[in-house]
Symmetry: C2
Subunit: 216 residues, 2 copies
């Protein structure tokens, strides 16, 4: 390229032609899909480069290690997935309980239109990586914290607005996240939405009691 | 070996000296620990052979594929771990709710005496393997089914004995397994037993309502 266009500044030409930002984003997109469905350790850097159509040199320039790429995937795409599936529906719902029910319903509806239950990206990566590496653990923990805090915050808002009376919003939020996470593990293993449906119903019953008990 | 002892029957000598059953069990033990803590894809056959102190030939004779070994690990050790931690305590407890509380308490106590939360062997392997391979999925699903059925069976027994009135034991059992599984995912990610403690408390509250509501 520099031989053909010797007069142009090398860096800007390379930037325009190679589109490094696009390339970087493409690799992160491909890695998010591959890591969260097949697993971090099941996917090689070679697989990722092939799927993204990126040369070894360009790849290595942006992602010196596979771990660096995975941390970007967690901090960017996994957080975004949890925001979209859980935090946003709960924040805009009339109440925490309704938001949680809507999050479950939307996820169930989406899975019913698909062929496979690939599971929750956050839980998939958490169970694979949180036990073996502190950096992964902190990144994953931050996403769980954002999720739990959003639910607890909505419950506190429900309390303030007189819509509910949760005595321990943080505890109830942790339980809701746990119940969903485990239900998705059962759904993935059975390749069926049935455990999500059962758990959505039981969680709704639990939440109605948790809110009612506390407001007595 | 056959050169030094030419008079003895070759097969029986080899069997006695090499202890193939012991070797096989040792590899399965090592694989259970490695797969359920570090992950199936994170551990190489070479790692397993090294840790078990087994030659390549002997290893390949017993385990033609890594997958064959992992299926044995699930069908034998993962099921055994779920039986020990969950099924047995629940079966012998006065009620399902008390058994579930005892299972949580024993797991929390064990984790508090350890340095690390490695998580639930079943859930760790389920999230890594259930989405990618039908054989793994069926083996993992069988363990979840044994767990759910044991809890549901105890709830039905509680109903029969007049100790509780669960309207839908299968649903309540699925919810309990999901809540525990998700709580352990949170515990692993935070490397803390706190999510297990919170969820044990909330699950106890949910179970008391589920049993009471139904018996009205």
């Amino acid at each position: 390229m520099t031989k053909r266009e010797p007069q142009r500044p090398k860096r800007s030409v390379r930037r325009r032609r190679n589109d490094p930002t696009g390339l970087r984003d493409r690799v992160i997109d491909v890695a998010f899909h591959a890591f969260s469905t097949r697993g971090y350790n099941a996917v090689s850097v070679h697989d990722l480069r092939e799927a993204a159509g990126v040369s070894g040199g360009a790849y290595s320039h942006h992602f010196p290690t596979k771990k660096a790429l995975a941390l970007l995937v967690i901090e960017r795409h996994v957080l975004k997935a949890v925001r979209k599936a859980w935090i946003e529906p709960v924040v805009v719902a009339p109440t925490a309980a309704e938001g949680i029910a809507e999050a479950f319903a939307a996820i169930i509806a989406e899975l019913e239109s698909k062929q496979a239950v690939t599971g929750c990206p956050l839980n998939n990566l958490a169970l694979e990586l949180a036990g073996v590496d502190g950096d992964f653990r902190f990144a994953l923990q931050a996403v769980f914290a954002a999720w739990r805090n959003a639910l607890a915050g909505k419950m506190r808002a429900d309390n303030t607005a007189g819509k509910a009376g949760y005595a321990e919003p943080d505890t109830v939020a942790a339980f809701a996240v746990a119940a969903y996470s485990g239900a998705m593990a059962l759904a993935k293993t059975s390749q069926s939405v049935e455990p999500l449906k059962l758990c959505a119903k039981e969680l709704a019953s639990y939440l109605s009691v948790a809110a009612r008990n506390a407001s007595r």
